[in-house]
């Protein structure tokens, strides 16, 4: 378990106040007459992907397989198997004094869709397991095409239940006395809109609430060592037991006259922990013969959580204390390159089309209030020694590779 509180599925408490609006929307969708022109479900498809992430002392790799099949043009089933194999000697692990560790996460997902007229209903279940963390999520969603299919409205709800355990880092055994739950709720609504013959846009909103043990049971905050203020000491982090976040995103995709596409997106995020974040994305897609090339750039920036500090003055300085770099002030920039080769443009037997794909992302993380505490752990006589609170700011780059094959049948 590296971080609890991620990919959380929440309900906005304020949503209670707007229950009637939601109810109205659900009823409107359910009782809309089946339109005269039916919608369509996505094509039958299978993908087998190998992923590899390497950066900041962490390597994570593994497979992901996704299969999707429809029946009678109105039912569809999908299944996904995903695995992470982790080897970690991250800066947090090093500063805590622990040694490199290995772990695995396995995730299974299944989904079903039912198309009735222009309304698609979907139901999904995901189960994720690590030796010290388990998560189950159930999702439900509706999508409705409107206005001659120029507009599609989607809405969804997810409910998650996680169980957080803790390993003894010396014996690697699960601590039988530690078992904490997390409950998660999420509401999503979205609209995609065709604006012109060459432009499609979308707007999405998601509200997430988590309740339970939201911090990482292994991570510590640091405070000035009372006996020598050049050094620091560590104590276990304490987080609030609830978190609610709001995210709104707009995206657009434009078709260029010479058969290429550009896309852009922006997401605004806030939460009850005081984190505010902005994400910008730009990309270009260019087909050439049997190839499709992609180029993308993503910029992300966030402000820190209210209870985050790189170095506290003393232990238990405040009710909540965190030194998780993901709650700090930082930026990340990603440059992505991709190539897709259509190796079966005319199909083969029951296969309609097949592609080979390779994607590479270079991500750079630059922290503005998270320092490289390893410099304060050197002997004070070492020329590279920096007193606690004066170390260089931490930054790292990561390489992400995805190689996959896709077939449509």
């Amino acid at each position: 378990m590296k971080k609890a509180g991620k990919k959380a599925w929440g309900v906005e408490i304020r949503a209670r106040a707007s229950t009637r609006c939601w109810l109205g929307l659900v009823l409107a969708l359910l009782f809309l007459p089946a339109a005269s022109f039916a919608g369509v479900l996505a094509d039958d498809r299978a993908d087998a992907l190998y992923h590899r992430y390497e950066g900041g002392g962490v390597t994570i790799h593994g497979p992901s397989v996704l299969v999707r099949k429809k029946f009678a043009e109105k039912y569809a089933l999908s299944a996904n198997y995903y695995q992470d194999m982790v080897t970690s000697a991250s800066i947090d692990v090093e500063v805590s004094g622990a040694s490199e560790y290995k772990e695995e996460r396995t995730q299974y997902s299944v989904g079903a869709e039912y198309l009735r007229g222009k309304t698609t209903y979907n139901l999904g279940y995901t189960n994720s397991k690590e030796n010290d963390y388990q998560a189950e999520t159930t999702t439900f969603g509706i999508s409705q095409d409107l206005f001659g299919d120029l507009t599609t409205i989607t809405m969804g709800f997810s409910r998650g239940k996680d169980v957080v355990r803790r390993r003894d880092t010396t014996t690697d055994q699960i601590d039988p006395t530690f078992k904490e739950p997390i409950d998660r709720w999420s509401y999503r609504v979205g609209v995609s809109q065709i604006l012109t013959k060459a432009l499609i846009t979308s707007l999405q909103l998601e509200v997430i609430t988590d309740e339970g043990f939201l911090n990482n049971p292994y991570r510590s905050y640091r405070f000035v060592n009372p006996s020598d203020d050049r050094l620091f000491a560590l104590a276990r982090e304490i987080y609030p037991r609830t978190r609610t976040s709001n995210a709104v995103a707009v995206n657009g995709r434009y078709y260029l006259p010479y058969r290429a596409a550009i896309h852009g997106g922006y997401r605004f995020f806030t939460d009850t922990w005081g984190i505010g974040a902005n994400t910008f994305e730009l990309g270009y897609t260019h087909p050439w013969r049997q190839w499709t090339f992609e180029l993308g750039y993503r910029y992300y920036s966030q402000g820190n959580a209210d209870f985050y500090s790189d170095l506290f003055d003393r232990p238990n300085q405040q009710n909540f204390l965190a030194r998780d770099k993901e709650l700090s002030t930082f930026t990340s920039q990603a440059l992505s390159l991709g190539a897709t080769y259509d190796f079966l443009p005319n199909g083969w037997r029951f296969i309609k089309k097949g592609t080979l794909n390779i994607f590479y992302d270079r991500i750079q993380f630059d922290y503005e209030d998270f320092r490289d505490a390893r410099f304060a752990q050197l002997p004070t006589s070492d020329p590279n020694f920096h007193p606690a609170g004066t170390e260089p700011l931490y930054s790292f780059g990561a390489n992400v590779i995805q190689a996959f094959v896709s077939v449509w049948f």
């Binding site: 971080k3 990919k7 304020r14 995020f269 794909n357």
Partner: protein, 75 residues
Amino acid sequence: MGKTKLISLALAALVLAGCGNIEPWVKPYERQALADPIMSFDANPVSTAYLDHVFDAREGARGANGSSGGGCGCN
């Protein structure tokens, strides 16, 4: 009135307005460019889900990325 409530109301109004007859301003036969696979918001779902996970696990922000997601405590 909160943001969530406002957006919910706007969406409900849009849905209900769909019961009326609105003439599509981009006709079905004018959508060949939009139907091109390069115009898909999510051409490779298995890859999109993975990359969303990579960022979600390392950044404080979450949600509104189009996926229904799945709970995990990993990064």
